[in-house]
């Protein structure tokens, strides 16, 4: 019997403001404990929260990017619970009137095993603004716990999806798409190591067509690899439990990367009785149509729109379009290189686009990986690469010549034309020269020519080798092949 997996995600994206959501303390990562914990962050009596405009702008930006409803009036609420890293005894969040509601995200689920790659729309329930808590350091301080409140009050956007995902692959594809998007629109640095993008995954299983099963929530996943492993383990555990006649109880579970297992946290009694109510310290947040439109005007072309354009206008495959839009830097590099590779045609299509895409996804990416660099640290600029691509496209250099140019550029810099000149890489495309060269070879190897003509096709490679050597490797390979074939056939 088959089981259907049902997954929904809650993602906490830390907004890239310089100050906290309700006060002017810094949000910089890695400072000495409590040096960025001002009177509001440590909840001294009498302090009042004042909302950060930059945090609201980022939330609106996100809402617009996912085609969501931006609430003209939203309300902050207190979520009450006691934990030492939450000094007020409540977290300021949003409850029934969040700033962003009802959006959607298109995800590309890559091919895996038997299934081919496909696209899917994941609905977003809401996204709301809230403050982060501090950090508890459980190392032993004479039987006490140390509290660092630097992170307390850092702005978060909690992005909640509908339970629309049906496999770990879909959940990971969704999380990756969201991760790319928040960086793309510049609202979150996406640094998962530092906790800027944290995922909680709600997982349940059911018989196809049956009502939703009871879900368990895997908390705080900070890598896509762990997410995949955690979901796989959790799904199998739930199925095994049900098959063996057990029942699933709603719980919060943690994933242990060392064992690859998920395990329920000790359930806190009435942990979910948060007694939300509107925060009397904060007035309702009004967002005017005008403000919304101002922000809309700052949105860059979004990954999905770029992908469509690369496919339709540039004739690239979905696969290529996806890779090239993995980050804004990557897409920018591609577009600049492409424009530089065909200066007279402006935005090129067809052959040039594919050539450019192949070089970036191939040589450039491989070298970056080898040197442990990311796109922003690439030693070759997009213009430099474009200049080289132009010389491949106009047949000045062969593919192997281009590889040499590329290696030189990577190591020592320089423009393609100068390197081609200095290294004598210009290929011979003059038909007269190539014909003369081939004639000489045919005349000097009459016996082999006879063998070839009597059916020994394999000798063709031998002639190519001789001709290339005679041209010192500079003959245009396509042209050389063509001339050789013609003359050998006689």
């Amino acid at each position: 019997m088959t089981w259907e997996i049902v997954i929904g995600l809650e993602v906490h994206a830390q907004l890239s403001t310089s100050s906290k959501i309700f006060c002017g303390a810094s949000t910089a990562f890695g400072a000495e404990p409590n040096t960025q914990a001002d009177a509001v962050s440590i909840a001294l009596p009498g302090v009042l929260p004042v909302l950060n405009k930059g945090a609201v702008e980022r939330a609106i930006k996100f809402g617009l990017a996912v085609g969501a409803h931006i609430a003209p009036r939203s309300v902050f609420a207190r979520k009450n619970y006691f934990y030492p890293d939450l000094p007020k005894g409540y977290q300021i969040s949003q409850f029934d009137l969040p700033v962003v509601g009802n959006g959607q995200l298109v995800i590309h689920v890559p091919a895996s095993g038997k299934t081919e790659a496909y696209e899917k729309v994941v609905r977003l329930t809401r996204a709301h603004l809230e403050e982060d808590a501090g950090k508890s350091l459980h190392e032993d301080f004479h039987g006490m716990t140390g509290i660092d409140l630097n992170r307390a009050g850092t702005p978060l956007l909690e992005i909640v999806s509908e339970p629309d995902m049906r496999s770990a692959d879909e959940a990971v594809a969704y999380a990756k798409t969201l991760h790319t998007l928040v960086q793309w629109i510049g609202i979150c640095d996406g640094n998962m190591q530092e906790g800027s993008f944290r995922c909680d995954v709600n997982v349940s299983v059911r018989r196809p067509g049956a009502a939703l099963g009871t879900r368990r929530e895997i908390k705080n996943l900070n890598s896509f690899k762990f997410m995949q492993q955690a979901i796989d383990y959790e799904v199998q555990w739930q199925i095994d439990t049900l098959v063996n006649g057990g029942a699933i109880h709603q719980a919060t579970v943690l994933f242990n990367p060392d064992t690859g297992e998920t395990r329920a946290m000790r359930s806190k009694e009435e942990a979910h009785d948060y007694r939300y109510f509107p925060d009397p310290d904060l007035l309702p947040l009004d967002i005017s149509e005008e403000w919304k439109e101002q922000i809309r005007a700052t949105l860059p072309e979004l990954p999905q729109a770029k992908q469509a354009r690369y496919e339709n206008e540039l004739g690239l495959s979905i696969y290529d379009a996806n890779i090239l839009t993995a980050s804004r830097e990557m897409a920018g590099f591609f577009e600049t290189a492409l424009a530089a590779s065909s200066p007279d045609k402006g935005r090129a299509g067809g052959v040039e686009a594919k050539l450019c895409a192949n070089w970036i996804m191939g040589e450039v990416n491989a070298q970056l990986n080898r040197d442990g660099l990311d796109m922003t640290q690439c030693p070759i600029s997009a213009q430099q690469l474009g200049g080289m691509l132009q010389r491949i496209a106009d047949n000045t250099i062969s593919n192997s010549g281009a590889k040499e140019v590329f290696r030189t550029m990577w190591a020592d810099g320089g423009e393609a034309d100068a390197i081609i000149e200095a290294k004598g890489l210009k290929q011979v495309s003059d038909s007269g020269t190539i014909e003369a060269l081939v004639d000489e070879i045919i005349a000097a190897n009459a016996d082999k020519v006879a063998e070839y003509r009597s059916g020994k096709d394999k000798l063709f490679g031998f002639f190519v080798g001789l001709a290339m050597k005679a041209s010192k490797g500079k003959a245009n390979p396509a042209q050389l092949n063509e001339v050789l074939k013609r003359k050998l056939t006689g």
Binding site: S18, N34, N52, A55, H138, F141, G143, T145, G146, L282
Partner: protein
């Protein structure tokens, strides 16, 4: 609506309040009085009226995203020993009784 002592105990536990039996009884009757008030308000017909989330009908003022606070850790942490119940401090951290998950 009438509250039972069990309801009061639950609310007290959520609010981390230690209450004796007589206090619970007092709180029960006081809270029940509040519930009577709420019941009266709920009887009012509010159809067609926008809910208010704040007593003042104005909107939130926003501050520009700028760091305006400086490090006052020494000051805040030097206050701690002077007040009863304030946490101890070590290595720049506030110390609290150990929390076990």
């Amino acid at each position: 609506m009438f509250l039972a002592n069990a309801d009061v105990r639950k609310v007290a536990r959520l609010a981390r309040l230690a209450m004796g039996e007589t206090e619970i009884e007092t709180a029960r009757s006081q809270l029940s009085g509040i519930f009577a008030l709420i019941a009266e308000m709920q009887a009012v017909d509010t159809r067609g009226i926008e809910p208010m989330s704040h007593a003042q009908d104005v909107s939130q003022r926003l501050r520009e995203d700028a760091v305006t606070e400086t490090n006052q850790r020494e000051l805040f942490q030097s206050l701690a020993p002077k007040y009863k119940g304030a946490p101890q401090v070590e290595a720049g951290l506030y110390l609290v009784p150990q929390v076990i998950e």
